[in-house]
Symmetry: C2
Subunit: 539 residues, 2 copies
Amino acid sequence: MFPRKLTRQVICDLDNPIVETKAGKLRGVIVEDAYIFRGIRYAEAERFHMPHAVTPWEGVKDAIMYGPVCKEMATPIAHDAYNVPHFYFPQDENCQYLNVWTQAINDPDRKRPVMLWIHGGGFTSGSSVELYAYDGEELSKFGDVVVVSLNHRLNLLGFMDLSEYGEEYKYSGNVGMADIVEALRWIRENIAVFGGDPDNVTIMGQSGGGIKVTDLLQMPAADGLYHKGIVQSGTIANGLDIAQEDAKRLSAQVVKELGLTKETIKEIETIPYYKIARAVKAANEYFTENGEKTVSFAPVVDKDYYMGYGPVNGFRKETLSIPLIVGSVFGESANNFNNELERSHKNEWDAEKRAKFMYEMYGEYADDVLRAFKKAYPKRNEVDALFYDTGFRSGAKVYVTTRSAAGSAPVYDYSFDLECPLNGGTAPWHNAEEAYMFHNACYLEASYIPGVSEELQDAMTGAWVAFAKTGDPNHPGMPIWPPCTEKDIPCMQFDRVLNVAWNHDDELLPLVRDHRAPRNAFGARRRGRALGGGPRQSL
Amino acid sequence: MFPRKLTRQVICDLDNPIVETKAGKLRGVIVEDAYIFRGIRYAEAERFHMPHAVTPWEGVKDAIMYGPVCKEMATPIAHDAYNVPHFYFPQDENCQYLNVWTQAINDPDRKRPVMLWIHGGGFTSGSSVELYAYDGEELSKFGDVVVVSLNHRLNLLGFMDLSEYGEEYKYSGNVGMADIVEALRWIRENIAVFGGDPDNVTIMGQSGGGIKVTDLLQMPAADGLYHKGIVQSGTIANGLDIAQEDAKRLSAQVVKELGLTKETIKEIETIPYYKIARAVKAANEYFTENGEKTVSFAPVVDKDYYMGYGPVNGFRKETLSIPLIVGSVFGESANNFNNELERSHKNEWDAEKRAKFMYEMYGEYADDVLRAFKKAYPKRNEVDALFYDTGFRSGAKVYVTTRSAAGSAPVYDYSFDLECPLNGGTAPWHNAEEAYMFHNACYLEASYIPGVSEELQDAMTGAWVAFAKTGDPNHPGMPIWPPCTEKDIPCMQFDRVLNVAWNHDDELLPLVRDHRAPRNAFGARRRGRALGGGPRQSL
């Protein structure tokens, strides 16, 4: 993905490097001693149908360029592409492609941990190549691991429940997740030739990708296909679950908007995508006009394919043995991207100016919040009481404690706290940690700090790799990081100095959550990359 | 554009770096000592209307992220994104944005040459950020020059002639080019604060971008706004000119397809873009069905805004004083991207295999072609007689000789001949030289050759920079490169060894052009990035 400055000639030849998968041979490239296979088709599917394994082929197929990403229902605006650099790749609804970065191929004597990256963007947007941070080359090299990333069906293609319209659509409300399960099956069957260990697969993701990790734990079809999980800023509300009655209500209205019936439903498999996208928009407008709740796209709780978010529906005992890392970012979408000069340079504000904004944000609770903040973050600039996130952090605390209470394998909690130099000092945002666990921090302008970034990414990527290897993130370059219990949350704070804080924000979190002025009151908080991938123009 | 590995902290602050343009203040970033301003709005325009200068603003505007690129009529497929790495950026019809890379700002004592890059993709697709090669940071550093690149209106937005429908649409057939002229005006008025010399502007482009350079020479509105020109693989047929009667015929049919009339024409300014795109498709289908010639989008020869391609319509005497570099690539779209193993590794073929393919390609003329090829390219592998391009090379030879005959300022001819390591050896393709004149060769996997690429890009970028500085591309790191005359073409061959060849392919070119089997006969020749930007899916 990165056009790195090369020092060696890339090998991209028709007969080298070649691996033989179950379905056929693939050729990739050798770049600076990393093997990269891009755009490997891992599944095929008819629209709204379950995916199946790819049709075998003769000869050698190219795997040198990324595959198309899933169609999206709206056009992105590059509003946050500076702080969160994006690749906007060509779209196609046949999007079941994955990419592999590895240090060895055809090496049966040595099996490396496999780290599967599942992208964010809610369940409606994003891709395996959406963000620069997702490039797997450095992570593969740093940890001698096999990095895999994938595209899968999203939005209406992945999560529209047409089960009322025929047995063949039984799982249409979850085929987007079924694609990921099919990718895990592909990994199980094929990753050995890429130097990977099919018996040691870590699933990891951020934002929507983190939610997908929690959801896979609640999907029986995925059992046994992965062994560890990492949930980055992926604990929010009820995991974005969609009740099946809501999903069916939306589908019924969409089918009506399209002028289709149970008899003619087959046509929905071939009409242009954008027509269905508009019908979805019209359906939700209809709901709004008629006082009904609008419905978005995410896994449908059918209690068959998907059992529903763990903390709400109970953690499945079949997957309680999966160790997890669960965490979030200090600022998330409450960071301080603010282009008004008056509101930037937060670290240079005098007490009066800080107090003014604290009052604007917390009213009569300003003093209480400040007191709790100083207790929770004794070494942090007090001004950051304005930018401390509660959304993902609340969800993380609920998740790690309820899961521990259910008697799970160890759950490790973290927070990514590194202040970034952008705009004279900015609380880290939703996504900011990705460059650090992918060992790509030195490529991203907005958060790179010479000396600091190199050390922190060694520590953080090191923890992710140690966890992928053994299920325990501890390594010598870091203070001891204990797992959570039902009652205690030792939070690893990834910052200039690494620190484990025990239950540090128990007082602060409810205060901020309950008394912060509505979103946008401070003017800045809309600018982070939202869960659905930021603002879009409707099709 | 490139996420280079950083060694210094980037400065991206609300009050640094700041420049004050005529319309208002802009803030950019400082990256590794280069100043970069991205996404500067240089003009505004209503749909189908002439552009005008931007409305002034108060305060400081962000110029840290690229602006949206022009809407395209079809969705790209990343078929060639390995050998020609692409950025697919968000689209918007308000796309008049430019980017600046420079070594100094607010430095009135020193004026640097300005090099304006005009992107390719015919007149229908592409953008200032479409290809990785277009990143201006290295060129700006290498030459201490100010690099500017721009987006402008394309396809139906830039070149649909509605002049029959009202005086306000008089120039609608050329507003896409008028955007570029407006950018040149912006440069004239503003580039000094970016360290640039408004009296020394070189316009340069490749493919469609090269054609745009030749077209600007034939547009009075641009006179005096630039001083030198570089045409890379931009000499083809008649410059893609559209006769005004054809342009009007297309518009009339489109207006009809849309159900509009002269009375209701104003609606065409606000209906969704995709509806007009479909009407264009329908109009051309109608033409095909009725035996009429289809019409594409490119500058309209109205003999007012645009006088038509120089070699066909006569070179305007007002711009004969502009020195030019004009050239093409050895392989262009006749290169050997071929995924069939049997047809790869061309350099290892034995005489029998080579003869077989030569016969397949040239039939009874195979021996004549081989003889002429050996004379023209005595040091090149004979097999390359299969991959020598004639399309752009023919156009270049006509252009440089007719222009010289018209008594122009010096015209320098070149060919980019470097064999690339892709697929075990590939003739250089349409675009392959861009990384070398932008000094970005070490970032592009498919063509990087350690040791060779570094030297060649120093020579080629050095020539481009010398030309931008003085109008003469000669520099000490290169053999002497004389300009063309009416009769003689000294061609600078950019290759492992630089060489000036005089009229070397006079015999070869017509032989190959006239006797090569139709395109696709050899199976490989469709795979290069076509002038229109490669295959697309219709909207």
